[in-house]
Amino acid sequence: MTEYRMFKPPALITFITAGYPNIKATLEFMLSLDKHADVIELGMPFSDPMADGKVIQKANYRALKAGTKIKDVFNVVKEFREYSNTPVILMGYYNLVYKRGVERFIKEANTSGVDGMIIVDLPLEEAEEYLRVCEKYDMGTVFLAAPNTPEERLRMIDEASSAFVYLISLYGTTGARNKISELAFNLLNKAKKVCRKPLAVGFGVSKPKHVKDLIEVGVDGVVVGSAIVEIIEKYGENAAKELEKKVRELKDAI
């Protein structure tokens, strides 16, 4: 039996980069997403987002240019908590956590109302302290698996992920694609056999049809990122309405 801790399937997980185009807009955007999304994934801007494609790279760069600090990311979650109980997970790169100190970071995140963490460049082998601290503060953990992840590793990733397992749909960086590749479905089939935690698929998922196809084959959640950030790229501070529209379209496909 799958253990659902953060969300009930089928879930729509939507991503935006905090501080893009500025931190004030982020709160407004989170509230827009919240109308239809089941989980909000908030990207912490980083100077070197090596797993991200062009759209999210630019969002990171702009957010930092606008002066966004980690403290601001925590604060925006805190403010969001005055309006909503929707789970919020922070996504980012390990140096942000490491530099602050793992314990201090997770403690502050927890106090701010963050429910879970995704650290893209932190594989299991390097995650001992992180896992211990997350458990202490009851912080949900999400590890990623890729199409080339062997079954045995998948089992360990499942074990370490308390919130859900994030399946990467392709070989490459984040960014909208036209089609969900065969790799995603193969990985999902493999993961279904060995994992006990909920399975979410991300990277390249951008259209309602993608969402529908994935949910139909039994994914517990889908993550849509770049396709949403593209709307912010286009509409800037005034993106709230368009964001809501996009999220509703995606949710309707479930």
Binding site: M50, G53, N95, Y98, P123, A145, Y171
Partner: protein, 385 residues
């Protein structure tokens, strides 16, 4: 897998299997006599090894202290030590059945050395280079293209070496099935720092043999410049267990107290980037800073994890030399020995000249002259006018 707490493998999950594959392949070829013979053949007949260990008599006399020897890596094909590593890794990639190479480059020296190896072994080669560097190093861009490599100008982030590495990693995440990422320094996730160190250790092995032949003794001191740190670890490593002072020279740029430098060991803090735990120049949030050095090859905000470790256990010392001092050393060596050092190597030379005067005449300093200065003539000319 680690150097004390430094190094490691901080990468997205998708890169774990390719890195394991690489580690296994590297273990195989390390023991494979045929492979080692092939590597030796190309290093000798193509790259130009062994390189001379030259007693810089004029410079020594002028300073009037310790004897200064230069390990002439500048005489290698391509003009720098980089080719020791690219030939090794290209052969390794071939052994793994890969048909394509990707690489990052700052000044373009590693890009050129990769293009050379790619052309030599018939592999498709693509090089990522920050658009700032493409602008600054037009000649090297042209050389790479002439050798058949494709050069991608990287527009993201600070548009320099660190962003070129990010972009090369992004390529590799999507292409690892047929592509080898040929990292140019002792940086990146395990096993890269070890592989690059081993291929560059030929510098130190030769130096040891040559100096014992000439002086009958080990040197008192070895000085090398440190950006990522490949030429330094290459000459240090075979002396790690000997009683020899090892000194790494970082770039102080416009001054260690300004923000315009690249001294990640001397002025940085522990952090995680490009797959490794090491020292990085970063702000309080852990955002990586934009660095500066007149020597593009030293213009990197981090350093190889083994250097971080050697610093921590105090086996090697790390010091800094600024742009101006490096320029002076560049001119001095040109005048006294008619040798134009790369601006990177000029950092090592500047420090060696400084300490040589305080040492006795029977002591010996070896400077790793990691590259030649022709590529820097324009920059030097501009700075001196």
């Amino acid at each position: 897998m680690k150097f004390g707490e430094f190094g490691g493998r901080f990468v997205p999950e998708v890169l774990i299997p390719p890195l394991e594959e690489l580690e296994k392949a590297y273990k195989d070829i390390k023991k494979d006599e045929e492979f080692q013979k092939k590597l030796e053949y190309y290093l000798k007949n193509y790259a130009g090894r062994p390189t001379p260990l030259y007693f810089a008599e004029n410079l020594t006399k002028k300073i009037g202290g310790a004897k200064i020897y230069l390990k002439r890596e500048d005489l290698l094909h391509g003009g720098a030590h980089k080719i020791n590593n690219t030939i090794g890794q290209a052969l390794l990639a071939k052994h793994m059945g890969k048909s394509r190479l990707v690489a990052e480059t700052g000044a373009g020296q590693h890009g050129v050395a990769t293009a050379i190896a790619g052309a030599l072994f018939g592999m498709k080669t693509e090089v990522y280079m920050g658009s700032e560097d493409v602008e600054r190093q037009k000649m090297n861009v042209f050389r790479m293209k002439l050798l058949g490599a494709k050069v991608h100008s990287v527009e993201s982030g600070s548009r320099t070496l660190k962003d070129a590495i990010n972009e090369a990693l992004r390529d590799w995440v999507a292409s690892f099935e047929n592509t080898h990422y040929l990292i140019g320094s002792v940086v990146g996730p395990h096993p890269y720092p070890t592989i690059v160190r081993d291929f560059q250790s030929v510098i130190g092995k030769e130096t040891k043999k040559q100096l014992i032949g000439i002086e009958g003794n080990l040197p008192d001191c070895i000085v090398a410049c440190v950006g990522g740190g490949s030429n330094a670890i290459g000459i240090f490593y075979p002396f790690i267990n000997d009683k020899v002072r090892l000194i790494g020279v970082e770039a102080a740029g416009e001054g260690i107290n300004t923000k315009k430098h690249s001294a990640s060991i001397v002025a940085g803090e522990k952090g995680v980037l490009h797959g490794m735990l090491s020292y990085f120049l970063q702000d309080d949030d852990g955002q990586i800073m934009v660095t500066h050095s007149i020597a593009a090859g030293l213009d990197y905000p981090g350093v190889g994890p083994e250097h971080a470790y050697l610093n921590e256990i105090k086996r090697a010392e790390y010091v800094t030399v600024n742009d101006k001092q490096a320029l002076r050393a560049f001119v001095e060596l040109s005048k006294t020995e008619s040798i134009l050092p790369a601006l990177e190597s000029a950092h090592a030379l500047a420090y060696a000249m400084e300490i040589a005067g305080e040492m006795s005449k029977d002591e010996v300093i070896v400077v790793n002259l990691s590259g030649r200065g022709d590529k820097d003539l324009e920059i030097v000319m501009e700075a001196l006018i």
